[in-house]
Structure formats: C-alpha cells, structure tokens
Amino acid sequence: MALPLAAIAGLFLVWEATCRAFAIPAYIIPAPSAIWTETTANPGNVAWHTLVTSKTVILGFLVSVVVSLPLAVLLTSSPLVAAAIYPLLVLTQAIPKVALAPILVVVLGTSELPRVVVTFLVAFFPLVLSIASGLVSVPPELIELGRACRANRWTELWRIRLPYAVPFIFSGLKAAIALAVVGAVVAEFVNADAGLGYLIQTSTAFFKVQLAWGALIILSIMGIVLFQIIVAVERIFFPWSPGIDKPTV
C-alpha cells in the first residue's frame, strides 16, 4: 500500500518539476499545483459533477449485474439457447457505443436513461462472459456429486454452479466497474448538462484546461475507489475465493 502511494507521489513531483523547469504552457500540460488550485476553486460545483457521474456509473453497473446474471444462466442452460442468444450479444458489442449514444438520446429522450443504457451496454458484456465461464467450469465430479445427492437442475445451479462461479463473477465485476466509468463519460460527452464528462467538454471549450485535467484525475480516482470496493466485498464476504485474477508475478 505504501509503495504504490509513494510511486504516485513521485510521479506528481516529477510532473510538477518538469512543468516548472521547461515552462510548459498550461494549455498543453498544466502543472499539478495549477490543476489543484483550479479544481478546488469551486469545490461545490466539482463535487456536484462528481456526484452526477457516480450516479450514472453505479446505476449502469447495477443494471449490468441484474441483466448479466440471468443472461449467463440462460446462455449456459442449453446449447440451443446459447446459439440463439450469443449472436445477439456479439451484435450489442459490435455497435460502437459512441455512435449509438446520440441515437439513444433521440429514442429515449434527454433524461438520465440513455446515459445509464450506454453505461450498461459498455459494461455488461465481459460480466456475462465471466459468469458464464464460471458456471460451465464446474468440475464434472462436483456435478456428479450433486446428481448423486439427487439434486435437480435448480438446486444444482443454486448450490453448486453459482457458488463455484463466485471468483469468476468477481473478476467480471471488476472489469465491469472499470468499463462503467468509461461508458458514463462517453454518454456524458454526447448528452449531458452535468457530470465530469460534461465538465471536461465545457472546460476545454473555454480553455480551462486545468479544470479538465482535474476532472480526469477525479474520474481515475473514482474508478480506483469503486474497483477497490469490489475487491473488499469479495474479501469480506467470500474469504475462501482465491481471487482468480490476482497478479502472481
């Protein structure tokens, strides 16, 4: 924990020193101190934009979870169903979300709804894939054990397949939360009157580059915090989970 923090602090120091030493103009790369001053100048305003984006990210993420779980169960329930649904899923991924966003605004109106939908569309696919691969990677002997205990398909799913998929589900959740932040910003670029994505667009338009950088840094912190929340939830509620995507190097 201490080492990564020290590394980040070091990075900011080098950044600050470079900006000052070479007198880099603020509209190209502003110094961290300038970003800080500009971003904290109106804390209420920045906090409001952060809150708006957080709401879109979390709503889009929750919709992804709610949709992905039954979808993954359906995908793995029979080869026939999989053959029918899978091409549709790939289609949703083939469509460029940035191109889809303005069309969604026309269809769904200028409310929060199209932003949540875009966030969901960006975030849900890897989640479905991880849950599905977790559900089918149960060792055949565990399935046989269930059968020997006279389990029907439902108890097999509930008592064996889903618990077995937990580490896979969390790996998908981690990918999904990172993508949800991306999705929310994409949606805000297209249609928003608030949010960090909107803040970046408007501030660059008025050459307030420091504020745009500030918003960018807040977005990164948001992504890291949400990611760590999921890591913590896994560690607290599923301590037996090996955390399949922990780097081992």
Binding site: E144, G146, R147, C149, R150, A151, T155, P163
Partner: protein, 273 residues
Amino acid sequence: MPAYAGMSLEIGAKAAVVIEIENVSKHFISRDSDRVVALSDVSISIQRNEFVCLVGPSGCGKSTLLRLVGGLIPMSRGRVVIDGRTVQEPRAETGIVFQTPTLLPWATVLDNVLFPLKMMKRLTPESPKQAMRLIELVGLSGFERKYPRELSGGMQMRVGICRSLVHNPDILLMDEPFSALDALTREELTLELMRIWREQPKTVLFVTHSIPESVMLADRVVVLSPRPGRIAEIINVNVPRPRQFGMEARDEFQHAAGRIRQLIFGAGRKSLH
C-alpha cells in the same frame, strides 16, 4: 421386537445378495461417432457388507461400472438391481467417493460433510453431531471450521470419505479414491478405511488399479479385461481379517495377487521372470 427380529432374519436368509449386476453392457458414442464398447455383458452378485474391488487396466470400464451401479449414467443393456429395485437414478442410500476429494471450496469441512444431507433435505438438529462423530472417526477433530484449501490432499480425501458416510448409506462406491495421494498417506488411509468398514459395516464397491491395494482390502476382487471390459475372473481373497500391512508375504496374499497379475498382464509377463 420379536416380529421385527424374525422379519430381518427371514430377509437375511433369503436375500444376502444386495447388489445384482445382470448382463450389463455400456457403449459410448465417441466424438467421431464411432461406437465404443466400454463394458460388455458384466454380471456380478454382491453380498451384504461384502468388500468388492474392481481391478483392471486403464480404460477397462471399471469406473463406468461403478457409475452404472450408482445410477449416475444410464446403461445400454442389462440392469442393476439393488435390494430388489432396478437402479434408474442415484439412490439416496448410496455413498460415493470420487477419485479427487471433490470438496466445495466455499464450504468448511463441517459443511462439506453435511452437504449430502442438505441437498437431500434430510438435515436435522442431530446432523452436525453425527457429522462431528465422522470427522472424529477419520482423525480430523479440530479442523471442522477449516476450508478445503487449508487441508492437505490426504485430509481432503478424509473429508470426502466422511461426506460419503454422513447419510449412513448401506452401499459405498469408491472410484480410485487414493490414487492421487502419496504412498504413505495411501497406506494410512487404506488402514483407516478398513477400520471404518469394521466399525460401520457396509457393502463396498472399490475401484482401483493397484493390485496389492485390492488384495489388502477386498473379500473378492473382480478382474476386468481391457476394452471392451468383461469379467476375466472373480478371485476370492482368503487373507484373514483384521488385515494389516506386512501380510503381503502370506501365501494367500501372494496367491491372489499373483493370479490377478497373471490375468491382467497375461502369460507374456511370466516369461520375463
């Protein structure tokens, strides 16, 4: 109680046979849609509380036969009758031990042992006590709150054995349960299994590819021929019980082991000596 005693006597006299395997055949359709015959016309009668080992070269269908008796896969021809009932699906009163411990990684030792009861909705307030007795029986007291990944391979297998016994089955099916363990743990567990079987007599069908293991454990050893699996011979093991390691030198042991070896490797093996 006299009526009950009389009844059980009568059943005991008439039906000492508990598992009747009648002309069972099994074929699979392979990937390139060829028909692969795994078992061909196998018949065995197994007595109550008998310990029977299935031995044969790999791919002779011994695990398949075990799964057929367990009702886990359908047979192509013939039938298996247990206690007068044709097996069509897994039977509640049968316990199974797999080649790997097959424990639930998310459940503690105690919950793993209780799993069959939970699945069959037979969990009672007494169940945890009964599970704890089994955990004690295999020498795992104090580990009941641990997760499988905190245990060694041999300990995990012990949990698997407890789990197969928790619903007090009268038949135990074991599919090469000790094959993944090191030699020392294997001997230890062999002795332990014999002790458990002595304390809680059950009809055991035990698949192994180890000839000494089969002779050490079994009342009778069923030797299967290579694919398609057929019964080559059924050998009675006359080594007296209780058995222990060190008995391998006895004539009865040598005789049985020698005969099994001969059946599996044929006469060609003999000429090497």
